[in-house]
């Protein structure tokens, strides 16, 4: 069911009695612009940790315990060109709680408090509160380099979108950007988000729909708005050469990251062939990269590829010895050629299709996946029934996969080099 709470504020319900818990997601969305990245990330942090009534992290935490350990979080996400502030909460159904529990109402009150009544001092966030979270965020951003795989992924993204910070920059901004935000300007930004962003609420579980819909009607800020219309799919600017960069580290392993442009998007005719192509390339434990680089040549433990159908990109990452970098780079290219030439067994292809169908049928056992799937279909304006979805998978041919593989164009390579290894 879909309800309109106000213009530009929708509520979608996914009723099911299968689970013992319920989940609410509230997405505030607008076009992605890098100037906002650090601001929205810090705003998420400030909305998550305190409010006017619960004016310390301790009080928020204890209120969540009172609500039977409800998992509450505020995060930032990017769906293609869509910048998103996501508020989520998962909580047990009253049926399993002591008699007379009315947790849904309590949860709605809590959400309203956290979203609409933040911890402020006049027209800015409380100074001490603001400063400590700003400093924690800076520390977090600085610590990303400790995680070699993630650090490499971010560097690769920057290379891929050279001179395009809206897409190349990390979603949470840089330490410098974070340190330049002040409490007052962030408070203004908060109002912009609250009153101008498109709001999509999704709820799943065994919930009283009317109670929830009425509850959101009481959110004073969820008033009429005219959300911007924009293209969600990211089309990267053309580049002349492959972008390359490398960084030396003292570590025990080198990380090789490679990005290809694959201009096929969610909902396109070639979408299903592209998904299957990626599974064959490096997306599964039977993929060509896994089988040949890892199992046959013992060159890596972790090697995988990922396909992002909102931005039209396919990336490969592998943890390897520095001495083998050229060999592995060559082998990655070879596997792609093999896919163009159709050098893989029917058995492998059938298995990959079977695995996608199997995973698709398994998804309905996770409330979170059910809601996420519903949301993606909603924003992309593309949805299929389960049987249509499976038919599309089954219908993918070798020729289509070969065509997809041909459209892969190498765009960026980032090497994190540990020369001792």
């Amino acid at each position: 069911m879909k309800y309109e709470i106000a213009k530009g504020v929708s509520l979608t319900t996914i009723p099911t009695t299968k689970f013992k818990n319920s989940k609410i997601l509230i997405n505030f969305t607008f076009p992605a612009q890098h100037e906002n990245y650090a601001k929205l990330a810090l705003l998420a942090e400030l909305l998550e940790n305190c409010s006017a009534k619960y004016n310390s992290e301790l009080l928020v935490s204890r209120q969540l315990s009172r609500m039977y350990g409800a998992s509450f979080g505020v995060t930032v996400l990017r769906y293609g060109n869509q910048h998103t502030l996501q508020v989520s909460i998962t909580f047990p159904s009253d049926k399993y709680l002591p008699a007379k529990s009315q947790l849904t109402s309590e949860v709605l009150n809590f959400l309203q408090e956290m979203i609409e009544d933040p911890f402020v001092d006049g027209q800015q966030f409380d100074q001490a509160y603001f400063r400590i979270h700003q400093s924690n965020m800076i520390n977090y951003l600085d610590s990303i380099q400790d995680n070699k795989g993630f650090f490499s992924t971010l560097q690769l993204q920057q290379l891929y979108y050279a001179n395009d910070p809206d897409h190349g920059n990390f979603l949470m901004g840089t330490p410098q950007e974070m340190s330049h935000i002040d409490s007052k300007s962030l408070f203004n930004f908060y109002h912009q988000v609250l009153f101008q962003a498109k709001i999509s609420i999704l709820i799943g579980g065994d919930l009283d729909e009317k109670l929830v819909a009425d509850g959101f009607q009481h959110f004073q800020s969820f008033s009429d708005r005219i959300p911007q219309v924009y293209e969600l799919k990211v089309k990267p600017r053309p580049v002349d050469d492959v972008q390359r960069a490398a960084k030396d580290i003292e570590g025990s392993q080198s990380v090789l990251s490679i990005a290809y442009e694959l201009p096929i998007y969610f909902g396109d005719d070639e979408y299903f062939p592209a998904v299957i192509f990626n599974q064959l390339f490096g997306g599964s434990s039977r993929s060509l990269l896994f089988t040949n680089v890892r199992e046959k040549h013992s060159l890596a433990y972790d090697i995988h590829s990922s396909y992002n159908s909102l931005v039209g990109m396919d990336t490969v990452q592998a943890g390897i010895d520095y001495a083998n970098e050229d060999q592995v780079t060559e082998m990655v290219a070879d596997q792609l050629t093999q896919l163009i030439d159709g050098q893989y067994s029917d058995e492998l292809l059938d298995g990959v299709k079977q695995a996608l169908v199997n995973q698709h049928r398994s998804e309905v056992d996770h409330l979170g996946s059910l809601i996420e799937k519903q949301y993606i279909q909603q924003i992309m304006g593309f949805s299929l029934s389960d049987s249509q979805w499976e038919d599309k998978v089954e219908a993918v041919t070798r020729k289509q996969i070969s065509e997809v593989a041909k459209r892969m164009s190498l765009r960026a390579i980032f090497q994190l080099n540990s020369r001792g290894h």
Binding site: T90, S285, G319, D350, V364
Partner: protein, 425 residues
């Protein structure tokens, strides 16, 4: 089949020990599409030294993890190929005391069940295959060594349990893995991969009697291995004098851990779970975001969201590791030690806080009940009696602050402590 009913949560557990010694646990989930099965072997990285029929055997560190990798590699195929045909997901993990093999699937459950039982129970090892695996495992070891958080964690355990099997990484190191031979792998398999040393836990979409029949049919086709006498030799010498063990890596801020080794006796079975839950509650009361102690450390800017703690209770040992990135490592260590020292004196006055913590944990258990991964992951088939999350939640409900206080005092009165500090080069 023995039936254990959990009417409060509309759940049931079926238990049967087969004639070959394998114990089977079946926990159907109504309305679910997917089935998850975990075949556990009561054998982990600490079991590298043992007496086999009276004779002492010492194997290279990392042998259990090595064996886990090798189980997937058959004469002319890889087990992933078999799972791939049905589209199931499969994986395996080795810990200090266990090796778990698992799959999950929404299709062809019986076929996958046979694949799981057959690939773990019918080995195929050759010299060449043993050698080829070493390169892959070296990369796995190097991947973990590249991660400073992982390093800090294992260095802490090593300093709590010096000169013991616990001071080795689960995967061993490149040198010890290099020493593993075909004979080592065969001997380890023969000694520990025995039906009576395994448990099979299945949850999700399943029919209990049909599933049990399939398992019995599968097992009937296999020879029961000849009995052996195995005595595990897990020597855990005392912790040395408390030190801050320091090392250098590329890190943005210093990483600190405080390790707490339990030297008290933990009961087995349900009582052991009670002990674990009680100690978790104790740590929550003093170190979770609900505690005034955490709040103070946070606002004094000694800790931030990188702060975490975990408590492990395994066969023969138990410890906690508290860790955080901080610009003030020595101050943090000093303050944490004071917080821990004050627990016995303060804990009895925290009855409101205790109720709140129980409330939260209760909700967390309800949340886990929707996840096959959590239900199967939380289950330990080797503690003498079946204890599922539905039992754990009942243990929690009946727990009193006095219970927590008594267990906390037992643990803290004999605890030994070590610290690790990783700083930037």
């Amino acid at each position: 089949m023995e039936l254990i009913d959990y009417p409060n949560y509309n759940e049931k557990l079926f238990v049967q020990t087969l004639s070959n010694g394998l114990t089977v646990y079946l926990q159907p989930k109504a309305g679910f599409n997917k089935t998850t099965a975990v075949l556990g072997v009561n054998y982990g990285s600490i079991d590298s030294q043992f007496l086999l029929n009276g004779e002492k055997v010492i194997q290279p560190a990392g042998i259990a993890h090595f064996l886990e990798h090798k189980m997937f590699d058959k004469k002319d195929y890889d087990v992933f190929e078999l799972f791939n045909k049905t589209g199931a997901r499969s994986n395996a993990f080795t810990s200090f005391t266990k090796t778990n093999y698992l799959f999950s699937t929404a299709e062809s459950f019986k076929d996958n069940l046979d694949i799981l039982l057959d690939f773990v129970q019918i080995p195929y090892f050759t010299q060449e295959k043993v050698e080829r695996e070493k390169g892959i495992i070296d990369q796995e070891i190097n991947m973990y060594k590249n991660d400073p958080d992982n390093q800090a964690y294992f260095e802490t355990i090593a300093s709590l349990y010096p000169n013991s099997v616990l001071s080795e990484d689960i995967a061993g190191d490149v040198a010890s893995v290099g020493k593993i031979t075909l004979a080592d792998v065969e001997l380890a398999y023969k000694t520990f991969y025995r039906p009576e040393n395994m448990s099979l836990f299945i949850t999700g979409k399943l029919d209990p009697s049909e599933t049990l029949r399939w398992i019995e049919d599968n097992q009937a086709g296999k020879q029961v291995p000849k009995p052996v006498r195995v005595k595990r030799l897990v020597e855990l010498p005392s912790t040395g004098d408390e030190t801050i063990q320091q090392s250098k890596m590329d890190v943005s801020r210093p990483k600190v851990t405080l390790g707490l080794r339990g030297n008290d006796q933990v009961p087995t079975g349900r009582e052991g779970l009670k002990y674990e839950i009680a100690l978790s509650v104790m740590f929550d009361l003093f170190l979770s975001e609900n505690s005034v102690e955490y709040d103070k450390l946070y606002h004094d800017e000694i800790i931030d969201d990188s702060f975490s703690w975990e408590f492990e209770n395994e066969r023969g040992f138990h410890f906690a590791v508290i860790s955080c990135d901080t610009a003030k490592p020595r101050e943090l260590i000093k303050r944490l030690k004071q917080i821990i020292a004050d627990i016995p004196e303060k804990i009895d006055s925290l009855s409101d806080e205790f109720q709140l913590q129980k409330n939260e944990l209760f909700g967390n258990y309800i949340e886990m009940m929707d996840s096959e991964e959590a239900i199967s992951g939380q289950f330990d088939g080797f503690i003498g009696e079946p204890v599922t999350i539905y039992d754990e939640v009942e243990i929690l409900k009946s727990m009193t602050l006095a219970d927590v206080s008594a267990i906390a005092n037992d643990f803290l009165s004999r605890v030994t402590v070590q610290e690790v500090l990783i700083q930037n080069r």
